[in-house]
C-alpha cells in the first residue's frame, strides 16, 4: 500500500476547480486499489495553508503546504523542484497533476527530473501493480489511446472536467514543506498573473459555451452571441479559428485543434460550419446545438439539435426565450 500525490493548483491563494478534481481522482484511485493516503500539495504565498480544509473535504488525508513570500504568483522551477523532492522521499505510487496550463508545464519537468513515466491530458486511469493504465484522447480527439505506464511513481495530468469533484471528507492533516529550490535562486521568475476579466467565466470551466463563426459576418455582431451567453448567466463565449485569425475575437477565445478543448454540458454553435479543426475542440460536449443557414453544414452531423435558418433572426429570439426560461427557475 502506498500513497498518491495530487498537485492542487491554486490561483490567487484559492484552489481552482481542477484542484478538487485531482484530489477526488486520487481519492478514488487509492480507494479502488487497496487504500493508501492521498497527499495534496498546496504551494504558494503566505496564508495558503488555510486551503487545507477545502482539500480535505475532497479526500486529502494530508495537505503538504509550502508557503513563501516569493511564491505569491507561483514559480515553475520552485514548484517542480518541491514536487520532485517530495516524490523522491518515496512511498508514492502515483502523482496526479491537472492538465491545465500550469499542470502541463510542471508534470514534464518533474518526470524528466526523476526519470519517471508521464501520461498527459488523460481522461481516466487505473492503477496496476507496476504502474498504471490511462486513457488519453490522441490525434486531437480523433482517436482514444489506452496507455501503459511502467514504473512507479507513475505520473499523469488529468484533463479538466474529466472527473467530477466528489466530496469525501478526510482529516487533511497539514504538514509544512521546505522549498525544493530557494525561490531567490529560480532562474525563471513569474512577474505577474493578470486575470483577464473577473466577471468572465473561463471557457474550460463554464457549463455552457456559446460560440460564433464566420456566419456572424462581422466582429460587432458577436454582441448577439454575448447577449445569449448573458441570458444563460453561466455561459462563456468562444469562437472558431477563422474568427480569431481575423481578429474579431482574441486568440484566447479559440476553440479547436489549436485552441481550447472544452466539454461543457451545453455547446451552442452559431454560424459555424463545423470544420474538423473546430470539432476537435468541442465534440465531447454533452449536448450540442447548431444554428446555421446551410442545412448541409457538417456541424449538423454532430449537433443533437439543429436549427436551419438566419442566425440574425434565430439568435435574438433564442436569447429572449432563454432569459424567460431562466427567470422561471
Amino acid at each position: 500500500m502506498a500513497n498518491i500525490l495530487a498537485f492542487a493548483e491554486l490561483r490567487g491563494g484559492a484552489p481552482r476547480k481542477v484542484a478538487f478534481e485531482v484530489v477526488s481522482a486520487a481519492r478514488a484511485a487509492a480507494d479502488a486499489s487497496g487504500g493508501g493516503e492521498v497527499h495534496a500539495l498546496a504551494l504558494g504565498g503566505p496564508g495558503i495553508a488555510s486551503v487545507a480544509g477545502q482539500l480535505a473535504r475532497y479526500g486529502a488525508d494530508v495537505v503538504l503546504v509550502l508557503e513563501h513570500p516569493g511564491l505569491e504568483h507561483g514559480n515553475p522551477e520552485v514548484f517542480s523542484a518541491t514536487i520532485a523532492a517530495r516524490l523522491r522521499t518515496g512511498g508514492y505510487r502515483a502523482g496526479i497533476f491537472p492538465a491545465s496550463a500550469q499542470g502541463r508545464d510542471l508534470a514534464p519537468r518533474v518526470a524528466a527530473a526523476l526519470d519517471l513515466p508521464l501520461a498527459s491530458d488523460i481522461t481516466g486511469f487505473d492503477m496496476t501493480s507496476d504502474g498504471l493504465i490511462a486513457r488519453h484522447p490522441a490525434y486531437i480527439g480523433k482517436a482514444i489511446a489506452t496507455l501503459r505506464l511502467t514504473g512507479t511513481p507513475a505520473l499523469v495530468s488529468l484533463r479538466p472536467g474529466a472527473v467530477a469533484p466528489v466530496e469525501h471528507a478526510r482529516a487533511g492533516r497539514v504538514e509544512m514543506l521546505e522549498p525544493g529550490l530557494e525561490p531567490g535562486q529560480a532562474r525563471v521568475v513569474v512577474t505577474a498573473v493578470t486575470e483577464r476579466a473577473a466577471a468572465r467565466l473561463d471557457l474550460g470551466e463554464a457549463p455552457v459555451v456559446v460560440s460564433g463563426g464566420r456566419g456572424l459576418k462581422a466582429a460587432e455582431n458577436f454582441k448577439l452571441v454575448e447577449d445569449l451567453a448573458a441570458a444563460f448567466g453561466n455561459a462563456a463565449v468562444g469562437a472558431t479559428r477563422a474568427v480569431t485569425d481575423d481578429g474579431w475575437r482574441p486568440s484566447t477565445d479559440q476553440i479547436g485543434q489549436t485552441g481550447r478543448m472544452v466539454s461543457p454540458s451545453l455547446y451552442i454553435a452559431v454560424g459555424i460550419s463545423g470544420a474538423i479543426q473546430h470539432l476537435a475542440g468541442m465534440r465531447t460536449a454533452r449536448v450540442i446545438v447548431a444554428i446555421n443557414r446551410d442545412k448541409d453544414a457538417p456541424i449538423f452531423k454532430v449537433a443533437d439539435y439543429g436549427i436551419v435558418g438566419d442566425l440574425f433572426e434565430v439568435l435574438p429570439r433564442l436569447t429572449e426565450e432563454v432569459r424567460k426560461a431562466r427567470a422561471d427557475h
Binding site: H136, I140, T150, Y305, I307, G309
Partner: protein, 252 residues
C-alpha cells in the same frame, strides 16, 4: 543568435483516418503528413528573431524515420539554415525517450534559444520541450504566447495564457521555450526558398533515444456521436428547442 527548432512530422488531422491492424497505431495509407501546427509557429518565431537580431543561424532538428526528412526540407524551404535528422525507426510515444535523444544532440550545440511547438497534434502530449529543458538543465517557459528578448543583456520576457489569466515571466538565456499558436502567423515556403533548400546541409545520425516506459496499448476510434436532428427552420423553431433543452436534455 543561434536558435534550434525541434519539429515533428504528424498526420494531417483534417483527414479521415483509420486504426491500423496492430490496433496501436494509425493506418498511414492515404494520409498526408506535415509539420505539426505549433512547430510552424516555433519556426516562425526563430526566423523573425534571426531577422531582427542580426547574424545568426536557425537549425531544425527532428527525430524519426527517413520520411522525417520531408519536414526538415520543408523547414529549410521556409527559411531554416540547416537540418539535423536523428534517425529512429519510429518516434516513441514516450516524450521522455525523445527528449533524451534531443538533449544529447543539443547539449554541446551552443544554442542561445531552443524552441518547440507547444505540443504535437498527433500525440497531444506537449511534454518533449519541458523535458528536454530539464535534461539540459536550462530554464524553460512553456506555451509562450508573447515574447521579447534583450539579447545583449541575455534575458527575455514571455507571456503565457493560463485559464482566464495571462502569466508574465522573466528568464535568462540560453533557454528552452515552447510556442503557442497565435504568436506570429507562419510564412509559407516560396519557390526561391524551395530551390535554396536543396543546397542547405542536412546531417543524419542515429537518435540516442531514452528508455521507453509509456506505450500505446490500444488505439481506438472514439464512439460516434448519435446522429442529431434538425428540429426546424428559422426563429419559429426556438420554442421547440427550449422545450428539448429543458425536458429532454435537461440542460436548461
Amino acid at each position: 543568435m543561434k536558435i534550434a527548432v525541434c519539429i515533428r512530422r504528424v498526420p494531417d488531422t483534417e483527414m479521415r483516418f483509420s486504426i491500423g491492424p496492430d490496433r496501436q497505431s494509425v493506418d498511414p495509407t492515404g494520409l498526408k503528413f506535415d509539420l505539426s501546427d505549433f512547430d510552424g509557429y516555433a519556426l516562425e518565431v526563430a526566423l523573425r528573431l534571426k531577422e531582427s537580431q542580426g547574424p545568426g543561424e536557425v537549425v531544425v532538428l527532428s527525430v524519426g524515420p527517413e520520411s522525417t526528412l520531408e519536414i526538415i526540407r520543408k523547414a529549410l524551404s521556409i527559411g531554416a539554415d540547416r537540418g539535423i535528422h536523428l534517425a529512429a525507426a519510429q518516434v516513441p510515444f514516450d516524450g521522455l525517450a525523445v527528449a533524451h535523444a534531443l538533449a544529447a544532440e543539443l547539449k554541446d550545440g551552443g544554442f542561445d534559444l531552443i524552441l518547440f511547438g507547444r505540443m504535437a497534434t498527433d500525440t497531444g502530449n506537449g511534454t518533449v520541450g519541458p523535458m528536454t529543458a530539464e535534461l539540459l538543465g536550462l530554464p524553460c517557459v512553456s506555451a509562450v504566447s508573447a515574447l521579447e528578448l534583450a539579447v545583449g543583456a541575455g534575458t527575455g520576457t514571455a507571456e503565457r495564457e493560463l485559464e482566464g489569466a495571462t502569466e508574465s515571466l522573466r528568464f535568462p538565456l540560453p533557454a528552452v521555450l515552447t510556442i503557442d499558436e497565435g504568436i506570429a502567423r507562419p510564412r509559407l515556403p516560396t519557390l526561391k526558398g524551395i530551390m535554396a533548400a536543396k543546397k542547405k546541409p542536412v546531417e543524419s545520425r542515429p537518435a540516442a533515444l531514452g528508455s521507453i516506459r509509456l506505450t500505446i496499448a490500444t488505439l481506438e476510434l472514439p464512439p460516434e456521436r448519435a446522429a442529431g436532428r434538425i428540429i426546424g427552420e428559422g426563429a419559429g423553431a426556438v420554442p421547440e428547442l427550449i422545450r428539448l433543452l429543458r425536458d429532454e436534455a435537461k440542460v436548461l
